[in-house]
Every structure is written in C-alpha cells, then in structure tokens.
C-alpha cells in the first residue's frame, strides 16, 4: 500500500468510525459535518467572515488529514474572494505548497490563481431560498417571486442598500416570469387565472406591471396566448419585447406599456423561440429560435425593431443555447450555453467576428446592470424531512414547515409516525442506508444501521406497541427491527411487489403480479395482479382481489385505512406516466379508481375520510365523499399524518440560490477568448 492509499484508508476508516459512533457530540465533530456547517454559514447565511474562521479551524485541526485540510483551505480562499480580500491568493498557494498529494485541489487552486474560474472581483451579494431571483439593473434590489402556503403569489423585494425586505401582494391568480424594467422601479410578469385553463375554455392570461413599492398594478395585455415571456424593455420604459406562444406556435411582439397596443414583430410558426432584450438604443432586438420545427439546433438572431431589416444570425445554430441578451453598451450579444457564457460582437445588427467564450462556468445568468456589472447565480437543491402543523378541517398549514432531518443526509424516503406521535422514522442515506428515528421531545436523531443492500430497504411502519419498525427487504420478507436492541425478528416471507402491515399488526397486505414473459412490440398477456391478506399468526393467505393484469401493472404502494375498512393501492399501468390510486373495501366488493397523479405516496387521514397525495410537488387532499381534490399549499411529497391528526410529516425540497456579481467582465476576458467550435458545446 503506497502512502496515498494509506492516507486514504486512514481517512475512510476515520470517517467510517465517526459515522458509526452514536450520539450528537461525536457526530458534530466529523470533518465532513464541520465542512458542511462552514459551507452553510457561507452560502446559506452569507456570513463569510465566520465561515473563514471555521475553515481555518478545520484546516488546523485536521492538518494531517490532507483531503479535509485542502478542502477547507480551498473553500476559505473562495470566501476571501467573495469578500474581495487579497488573502485568497496566499491560501491557494498554501494548498499547492502544503498538500501536493491532493491533486484535484491543487489543480483547482492553480486554475483559480491562473484566473480561469471565479474572478477576483466576484462577490456574493445575496443568498436565499428559491431559484429565480431577479437583480435590478441598478444593482440595488433582489426581487423574488414567492408562492405562500395559501397559494397566494407575492414579490419579495430585498433592498440591498438597507438589507430590508418588502412584500408586494399580487392578488388572486398565478404569477410567472417576472422581469424588471430598466429603471429598476417596476416588474412585468405573466398572470394566469387561479384555475389552470383548458383550451376549450374561454380563459385569458395577462401581462401585468407593478411598481416595486406595490403601487400602480395594472394589466398591459390580456389575451388568449398560452404563454408570455418578457425579457426586454426599452430604456425609456415604453416598449416591452414579448415572446408569445399559442398552440405551439411562436411570435415576437412589441407591447406598448403606455397604450397597451401589441404589434407582432415576427411570427416564427412552430419554431420554439426565446426573446431576449433590446439594444440600448432600442433599434435591435435579440432572440433565439429553433432553426426549423424539427431541429434540435437553435441560432441567435438580431432583428430590427422597426421591421425594416431581415433578421441576422449572430450566433450560428447549435445545441443548448438559452436566452441571449445585449450587453449594456450594445457592443455584444451574450448567450449562455452548456454552463458557459458566449459572446459575439455586433454592429448595426450584424455580427462582427466569431463568437467567443467569456466564462466556462457562468452560473445562471441574471443579467447586467447599467454599468456593465455581470450578475449570475448558483443554485443548490437539497431534500429533507419536514413537519408542519395543519388545520385538520382544511389541511392548510398553520405555520412554516420545520426541517427535522440532518442536512448532511441524502436519499430521504417516506416518514412514518410512531403510534404515540412522539417519534418519526424514515430511511435516509449517509454512507449507506440508515433507519433514522427523530425524537420530537429531545430534537435528537438516532440511527439504526441496516445490513440491507443500499436502496433495497423499505420501511413500512411501526409495530402497534411502538417498540419496533416494520421493514420489508428483498429475500427477507416482512420483519420487525427493535428500535432499542436493533434485533431483527422475521415474521413472514412472501414474494410481493408491495407489502404493508395492518394497523393492529396482526396481518400484512401484499400485492403480487404474476407476469408472463414480455415480448417487445406485443401486448403483455395473462398477467395476474393479486391483493392478498396474510394472517401473521396462522400464515394463512386470503385473496382480497384478483384481476388480469393488463389494466394494472407495477404496484407502487399499499396503504390500509386507519379504520381497517379499506385498502388504498397505487399502481402504474404499462405505458402510462401517471400512477392511479384505487380504493378496495376490505369487507368485499370491487375496488374503485379514486384519482391519478404524477406522484402517489398516499396517506390516509386519521378519520379515514380522505387521502393525502402529492401532485406536481404539492400535497393535495382527496375527500372520499365525492368532492373535488384540493391543494394544501404544502410543497413536498410522501405525506404522513400524525396520530393526533394535526401534523403532517413529508419530504420537501429546499432550493437555495446565491447571487454573485462580477465587475469588468469584458476587459479581463477578451485576451483569452477562444473560438466557438460548432460541436464544442454539444460534446459537453
């Protein structure tokens, strides 16, 4: 074993040892936990000063652990860069000189010293939840569109000069695609009726405008387009460039914000089109369009806004471009592609020279301020287990959901409440699958290791006495895992697609699909889908339901109702994308289809009168009395209702966006620009 391997082995052993140590104190001492905490401090809280101290401590304390120390130093250098502190150079040099065995870290440090990644002038100016922050052209405001728990849309306006937030209520309806006017005082946005429209209905969508202080809200276009996209307003604020989409066809429109007159500048038929912004003199408009309706390639065009000149290709066709825009001085068009930012010089609506790459890692382009400062963002998405208090009569949240899971874990699966409602169990991944039991009284987590192969473990509930977890794993069937002793007790072995225990713990329900060999291109034949109840005392099976499987398919979940009268089962039919949820009366009779949704991890309410399920990333309620389903305003999936009925546990995602700025983008980059090869981005 060479030195590098030994060090790696020691590091892995150290990590593995730490992971297996029970207790919160030891867990918080793990180097990866400390690194993550410092990262959260810098990226989520924006406190680089404290993060630098934390990284410094980690680098010192784990100096012998080269991987950890080098990572800490790299991140410390990034923090210095964000602060504009020249110390960053010394720290990168330290990585190179002290840890030459950490080749990736050294390469990264060299690259940054060479100036090919975040520049000296890159500063983080804001971070927060979401992924669609707008930066005002004067650099003063960050505007975020938010949907609250009551489904109401608001703009949250952060004034960076005073670090204060202001909320602008947008009223009933759904708001999308906000765009700030060049004077940094108004926001244009698309507005839809609350109910999603259907083409057969007489519905309308709008473009609205509102001042950042919430005054002056008005409609500037109301029509039956399926979509609008505003990405440009002239410097005088009078004319907006609008991408219009109707029934799959695309148009570029010029919308007067004064008279509300819409003039179509160019129709592009079925060529998907993204409209960019105006040149600063208002004479030209840049847009991206498919080469033709069958093509995967798109090109960037500049068109005269008075319709007097033929659209000119400024960036030839390629894959992966997104919305282009003029730079504030109008001398260039920039267009993101493959994570990088490309630029081409333009004059009189024509390109001058070849496209060049400005940045290889450009983040999400936010645009430019009037002085040429470039804004971009980085987005991080993580999922967690959440719990929220609800009003059981409406299932609307009473407060903001609370994250209960450790942010360093990944791969969360459905949560289950203990019978007394004091604990929550779920499966998560951190160096392998683990059972995690969260205790609400202490706020602590306990981990139970498992021997099951990663990804194969199914937690399906708690034993009625609350002492064990009910678990299903391939080959081992249904078993109990004692939460204290971790002893496992096999109860029954069956070959099933899905298994779940009855609420009294005396039986299991399971679904089987006896499938005939599938021949490509032919209809599957003679599959048999069965729902079975097995008595755990006697081992006797009772078939509850049988169907030829053609209308069924893969069983996704089984969920018995708390009153013991019904079994909800979800399955995915062949060649269908949306699972179906059926309800089977356990006293006998035929099942009925209740609903279809894109994400079904259903949960019964404690009174067995409704089912909670997820649809488009939101938790919905389907009453069983025939009423229409409705949204709760809780964003997440895999809900579970607490035994007292006033809390919902679920898996939710948090998205964090950090907005950065770079000054003097063009002078720095022009010297090392490279030519854009037609297939270069496609290969990435």
């Amino acid at each position: 074993m060479n030195t590098e391997m030994k060090k790696t082995a020691v590091f892995v052993a150290l990590i593995a040892g730490l992971v297996n140590l029970p207790g919160q104190a030891q867990k918080n001492d793990r180097p990866e936990v400390l690194l993550e905490a410092a990262k959260q401090k810098a990226n989520l809280e924006g406190d680089c000063k404290v993060a630098i101290t934390q990284y410094k401590e980690i680098a010192t304390r784990f100096a012998s652990n080269h991987a950890v120390a080098a990572t800490a130093l790299l991140r410390m250098a990034e923090c210095y860069q964000q602060q504009g502190d020249a110390e960053w150079r010394k720290v990168y040099q330290e990585v190179i000189s002290k840890y030459p065995d950490q080749k990736a870290a050294v390469e990264q440090a060299r690259a940054r010293l060479g100036g090919t990644a975040p520049r000296e002038t890159a500063h983080k100016i804001w971070s927060g939840s979401g992924a669609g922050a707008l930066v005002s052209p004067d650099g003063r405001y960050i505007v975020n569109l938010r949907q609250g728990g009551d489904s109401k849309f608001t703009f949250v306006v952060r004034d960076l000069s005073s670090d204060t937030d202001r909320t602008v209520d947008l009223g009933d309806g759904k708001a999308y695609d906000p765009f700030l006017t060049p004077d940094s005082k108004r926001v244009l946005y698309t507005w839809w009726p609350t109910r999603l429209p259907d083409v057969k209905d007489d519905w309308f969508s709008e473009i609205r405008i509102v001042n950042l202080d919430g005054t002056g809200m008005r409609t500037v276009l109301r029509s039956q387009y399926n979509g609008y996209d505003v990405r440009g307003v002239t410097a005088d604020g009078k004319l907006a460039a609008v991408g219009l989409q109707r029934d799959g066809t695309w148009q570029i429109g010029l919308l007067s914000l004064e008279t509300r007159e819409l003039q179509i500048l160019k129709s592009l038929g079925w060529r998907t089109t993204w409209v960019g912004n105006f040149s600063p003199d208002g004479r030209w408009l840049v847009y991206l369009a498919q080469l033709n309706k069958e093509s995967t390639d798109s090109a960037v065009y500049v068109i005269a806004t008075d319709g007097s000149a033929e659209p000119s290709v400024v960036v030839p066709g390629g894959v992966g471009y997104v919305t282009p825009r003029f730079t504030p001085d109008g001398s260039r068009v920039v267009v993101p592609r493959g994570g990088g930012l490309w630029s081409v010089r333009v004059k009189d609506g024509k390109r001058v020279g070849d496209p060049e790459i400005l940045m290889r890692n450009a983040g999400r382009v936010k645009g430019f301020s009037r002085d040429g400062t470039y804004y971009y963002s980085e987005v991080e998405v993580s999922s967690s287990e959440f719990v929220v208090q609800v009003d059981p009569s409406t299932w609307k949240p009473k407060n903001a959901p609370a994250r209960i899971s450790d942010p360093f874990r990944k791969g969360f699966r459905a949560p289950y409440w203990s019978p007394d409602g004091k604990r929550l169990a779920y499966v998560a991944n951190m160096a392998g699958d683990r059972f995690v039991i969260h205790d609400f009284a202490s706020g602590q987590d306990r981990e139970l290791p498992t021997r099951a192969p990663e990804g194969s473990l199914s937690l399906v509930g708690w034993s009625p006495d609350g002492k064990s977890l009910q678990v299903v794993a391939p080959g081992t069937g249904f078993r109990l895992v004692d939460t204290e002793t971790q002893q496992e007790r096999p109860l029954s072995l069956m070959r099933a697609q899905q298994t779940v225990a009855s609420h009294d713990g005396k039986a299991v329900f399971y679904a089987t699909l006896d499938s005939a060999p599938y021949e490509r291109g032919k209809e599957p034949v003679s599959d048999t889908f069965r729902l079975i109840r097995r008595d755990l005392d006697t081992g006797a099976d009772k078939e509850l339901y049988r169907a030829e499987a053609r209308p069924f398919g893969v069983a996704i979940s089984l969920t018995p109702s708390p009153d013991g009268r019904s079994l909800a089962f979800a399955f995915l039919r062949p060649r269908e994308n949306s699972p179906r949820l059926w309800i089977l009366p356990l006293s006998g009779g035929e099942p009925r289809e209740l609903l279809r949704s894109d994400g079904l991890s259903p949960a019964w309410t404690q009174d067995s009168r409704a089912i909670l399920f997820s649809r488009s990333g939101e938790i919905w309620v389907q009453p069983l009395d025939g009423r229409e389903p409705y949204a709760t305003g809780i964003h997440g999936h895999a809900p579970s209702v607490s035994p007292d009925g006033d809390r919902i546990a679920f898996i939710g995602s948090t998205t964090t966006e950090s907005v950065w700025m770079i000054k003097n983008l063009f002078p720095e980059t022009s010297a090392r620009s490279v030519r854009l090869q037609p297939d270069q981005s496609a290969k990435r």
């Binding site: 057969k200 007489d202 309308f204 029509s223 410097a235 005088d236 066809t249 148009q251 179509i264 659209p311």
Partner: protein
Amino acid sequence: MRIAILCAAAVVLSAAAHAAGPRLPLGLDLYRPVPNDNRLTPAKIALGRRLFFDRRLSRDGSLSCAGCHDPKRALTDGRVVAQGVGGAMGNRNTPIIVNRAWGDGFFFDGRAATLEQLALQPFLNPAELGMSPESLLSVIQARYKRQFRSTFDAEPSLDLAARALASYLRTIVDGDSPYDRYAAGDLSALSESARRGFALFRGKAGCGQCHATPNLTDEEFHNTGVAWRTGTLIDEGRFAVTHAAADRGAFKTPTLREISRTAPYMHDGSFSTLADVVEYYDSGGQKNPTLDPKLRPLHLTAEEKRDILAFLGALEGRIQK
C-alpha cells in the same frame, strides 16, 4: 443616461413613423420579408400595380390579373375555377392573394418558390391571360418604357416586370379583423359564439393545426382528401412538383382571412358554402391512402358548427391594395 433615453425615444418615434407610412393592419408581422435583390420602392410598387390592373397584358385585351383577383370580391372571382381569356377554364379555384409577402411556396401546388417566380406565370398560362413571352414583352416595351427607366434605370424586361409585380403583391395586406383585435387584447371584438368557435378552432376541431397564427396558414401542403373522388385521384396537387408519393393529392393550406367573402371553397371550388366545408372536415375527410393523419371525424354538434362559422366570419378584415 439622458442620451440613452433620447436615443430610445428617437427610435420609438422612428418605429412609429415607419409604421405610420405604409402602416400594416393589425395582426400582421411588422417585419415584412423582402428579398435583398428586390427591395420595396414606391416606384416599383406603383409600376407593379399598373401591370396588375392592365387588360392590355392579356391575349385579347379583355382581362387583367384583377379580372380574377377582383378587389370587389376580396381578390377572388366567385367562380368554381378560374376563367381565362376567351372563356378558357382553369382547373383550380382562384386563391385569395393577401399577405403573400409572408408566404412561401405559391399556387395550390407550390410550384413557384417566390413571388418573382409566380408573377408572370398567369400572363403566360393559356387558360389565364394567354400571352406569349414575346407578346408580353412587346406590350410592356411599348407601353411602359418610361416607367421602367425611371424605376429600374433600365429598359423593360420580363424579369424586371416580375420584380415590379412581386413588389406590388407584397403590399396587398389584410388584417385588422375582429379576430385580430381580439388576439391583441380587445375582448369585446368577438361575439360569444365566435369566441366559442375560436376555442373549437384551436381545440376540438383542430383547425389551428394547419391554419396557424398569424396568417391562418402553415404555408405547407396537406392531403385533405378533397382531390379524391370514389377512390380516384382527380388532381395530383403537390405531387406534380415534388414527385413524392406522400404529396399525392396534397394542396397548399390557404389563408382563412376573408374566408366568408371568398366562396366557393377548396382548391377546386367544390364546396359552395363554408357550412359545407365544416361538414366535410367534421366527417374526417375523404379517405385515401395518403390522407393527412390530422384529419379525423370531429363529432361536432350543430351548435359547435355554428360557433365555428361565427368565428370564421370574424376573419373579415381590411384589405390594403
């Protein structure tokens, strides 16, 4: 900052002025495609207009382009098929010729790729104006020498005549219909019935699959089965140009602008009313080996058919010529 605002204001004013000259009717693209080698000039447009209306450019001096493309009939002739000099019968219905600047692939079979290619064909077609190239050039030389010199700084030629005619055709525009006003946000522009008809047009009836925004044509060719009679193909349509089997019996999607004024309908004028056309599409079209898969029985109710007709009536706008 002040300069930028002034510049932007000047541009907006300039754009307004551009629109105010030959201001296009509502609903049409501000950008009007014009070939680089035949830019629009007032002189060319005026010359083309004179050629368009000049009966002396037909074999017996009885007909001009406007003889079939009659401005009083929305630039069509009301006949089943076109009637040329000496009563000669064509084999296709006279198409409306509005908004052709934005089109491509002209005639029902698309045999002319540009308006310049199209412009002289009716003069030289024996079933239309019936001229020979020599006689046509001779008349033009005799009657238009001065205009060609002032317009093109050149002697008259068929090529230049085609350019002038194409320029004029590019200025025949039609828009500002109730539909256009509705699409631009005037929600009172359509009646309730027409609004329902528009929803059907876009949805259940599927008309918008081919009659797409903004000119209500996709400028493509479709076999709707009209050219088939009891299993026999009467007119090869696009196939005559491409010789592609899939194009047998396919014809250019016509614009629906002014449709209520341009009966009879289809490439052969075989339907005398719009109600007949709606009934035909409701039935799913005449079955044939290359029927466009977009056609299928629609199962429209009587009320839905009335609503579609109400919407089609709202496509009557303002023709500038």
